[in-house]
């Protein structure tokens, strides 16, 4: 009980720090542009949603236009770290003054940078402003490698820290007692769930211990970040292609590295089929193992989470877009009811996508480490009696 109280105190302290940090957060006025202030039409809503879906270099909580016509932003600036043609360049994102269409030029390290649609461009030598072609592509600037601490990175760091605090706390509890108390009692069944329902049945009794650590990390990482995406902080970490691609490639590397002889044999020289077909099968199998599997993983997670964000925001936007036809009360209540239920579904999807990603990773790893015993039991008629491993193989 005492421990729980202390933990509670600790978390409240963290929360307070967090909140006060926001209170101290920059309260910048931005007289340069105030066009992005109101979001009323369908086009503006679409642009706003697409902007939200992307990663951001600021941590903005909300913004409004004051009576004097100034655009005020509440939030954090985040550090921008670039690998430009002159080497490493760092500055704070506040130097862009929330401009996102390339009009504000930041001069650092003898180079000029502009931010266009949440991407940072380096202006080619001599150019003073960004020139655009008809499709709004910059013609005299190129993308730079951007290692900035973006909003997604902040989310990853935050969740990583939370996971470390929570689960190392749970680990410490076991030193003193057999059954954890407090928050650990919530975490323990989740850990057991991943181990007993995802890792053990899919990888097999013999090898599952080695991979459970990875699967647990990925499961909680995706799940908590998915849930974080549903909060009003507006994180969209698991909806970033780079993040899901990274996760999928980790899984790819793990099952490729730990694949045993049987696994590679089945990929490269499939036993039990005519020799002429084997090379064709090998190409298909290789494409499946190295491209299709990780691609399906990364696209599924990315698409589900992005779609969820887009749907929720579109339903919220009903409030503005249908105001004329339904009236203020009608549009607002319709929007509230719909977005409420979609948010409920999104809570389910947040868990489901974490589960599916982890489950499929476990399945792929399980296929790579499965031991095919070729001495199957034979029944009276000489047919092979399929064992559990084979049934699983068929199912996959």
């Amino acid at each position: 009980m005492k421990v729980a109280k202390q933990t509670f105190k600790f978390y409240s302290l963290v929360l307070m720090l967090f909140v006060s940090a926001f209170a101290m957060a920059e309260n910048t006025t931005d007289p340069v542009e105030n066009t992005g202030g109101q979001v009323d039409t369908k086009e503006e809503v679409e642009a706003y949603i697409l902007h939200h879906i992307q990663d951001s270099h600021d941590f903005s909580l909300f913004s409004y236009t004051s009576d004097t016509g100034e655009r005020k932003h509440f939030g954090f600036p985040l550090p921008v770290i670039l690998w430009s043609s002159n080497g490493l360049t760092t500055f704070m994102s506040s130097e862009f003054h929330h401009n996102d269409d390339g009009h504000v030029i930041v001069e650092k390290n003898g180079l000029k940078f502009a931010k266009i649609h949440s991407k940072i461009y380096e202006l080619d030598g001599g150019a003073a402003t960004v020139a655009f072609d008809e499709t709004h592509h910059a013609t005299n600037a190129h993308r730079v490698l951007d290692f900035s601490i973006t909003k997604s990175v902040v989310g990853v760091l935050l969740i990583g820290l939370l996971m470390l605090i929570w689960f190392s706390g749970l680990a410490r509890q076991y030193k003193k007692r057999q059954v954890p108390t407090g928050f650990g009692r919530v975490l323990e069944p989740l850990v057991l769930y991943v181990r007993d329902e995802i890792s053990r049945p899919n990888i097999g009794e013999k090898h599952y211990r080695k991979f459970t650590g990875y699967l647990l990390t990925v499961f909680f990482f995706i799940w908590i970040l998915n849930l974080l995406g549903l909060t009003p902080f507006g994180f969209n970490v698991t909806g970033q292609l780079a993040v899901t691609a990274c996760l999928a490639i980790f899984t790819l590397i793990i099952y490729t590295v730990s694949g045993n002889k049987d696994y590679w044999m089945h990929i490269l020289w499939m036993p039990g089929v005519p020799v002429l077909i084997r090379p064709v099968l090998a190409i298909i199998e290789l494409a499946g193992a190295l491209i299709i599997k990780p691609f399906s993983l990364l696209v599924r997670l990315f698409a589900n989470i992005s779609a969820g964000h887009i749907v929720v925001m579109s339903l919220i936007a009903i409030m503005f877009t249908l105001k004329k036809s339904l009236g203020v009360v009608g549009a607002t209540s319709l929007s509230l009811v719909l977005s409420f239920f979609i948010t409920l579904i999104e809570v389910l999807v947040a868990f489901l996508q974490a589960y599916i990603f982890t489950m499929l990773s476990a399945l792929f790893i399980g296929m790579a480490v499965a031991e095919h015993d070729h001495e199957h039991d034979h029944d009276d008629h000489g047919h092979e009696i399929p064992d559990a491993e084979d049934v699983r193989g068929d199912f996959i």
Partner: protein, 166 residues
């Protein structure tokens, strides 16, 4: 597709890779490994306790079965002992009865034979006595006959009275 590729940020990918690697390493070292070890230990402990309980239960059952057997045997033994004793008792009574019977018969027979012989000797003595008495009477009758008729009769009368007294 073009837009998707444009949205893909290589920098974020690199940062995420580093952070994820770090996170996996830290989580495995500080969280998953100790948690898994403790969970496995706990499960093994529970399994061990359950097994021990099961074993104890089996032992208990064996013990109970043994006890039941012992009890049954003891009961059977007692039963047989009781039966033996009862038989012995009956036999003894029977024996005693027959022995007593024969003894009594013997005694009765002895007594009867004794009575018989006594009777015989008494009869013989009586015969002798009667014979002697008869002779005596005859002597006296013969002696008095000559003197007095009345006296003879009187004498016989008195003699007979004497004989009665004898």
């Amino acid at each position: 597709m073009d837009k998707l590729l444009n949205d893909f940020s290589p920098g974020l990918f690199v940062v995420q890779t580093i952070l994820l690697l770090l996170l996996i390493f830290l989580m495995v070292k500080f969280a998953w490994k100790p948690i898994m070890t403790s969970l496995t230990e706990r499960e093994e402990g529970i399994q061990g306790a359950l097994d021990a309980a099961e074993k104890a239960k089996l032992e208990m059952q064996n013990l109970q079965a043994d006890n039941a057997n012992l009890l049954k045997e003891a009961r059977a033994e007692r039963e047989s002992m009781l039966k033996e004793a009862r038989d012995l008792k009956n036999k003894m009574i029977e024996d005693a009865k027959t022995e007593a019977q024969t003894q009594a018969n013997n005694m009765i027979a002895q007594a009867q034979s004794a009575i018989e012989s006594e009777k015989k000797s008494a009869m013989a003595e009586l015969k002798n006595h009667v014979a002697g008495l008869s002779i005596e009477i005859a002597e006296k009758v013969v002696g008095q006959e000559l003197s007095n008729k009345d006296k003879q009769l009187q004498l016989v009368e008195s003699m007979l009275n004497d004989a009665k007294l004898n």
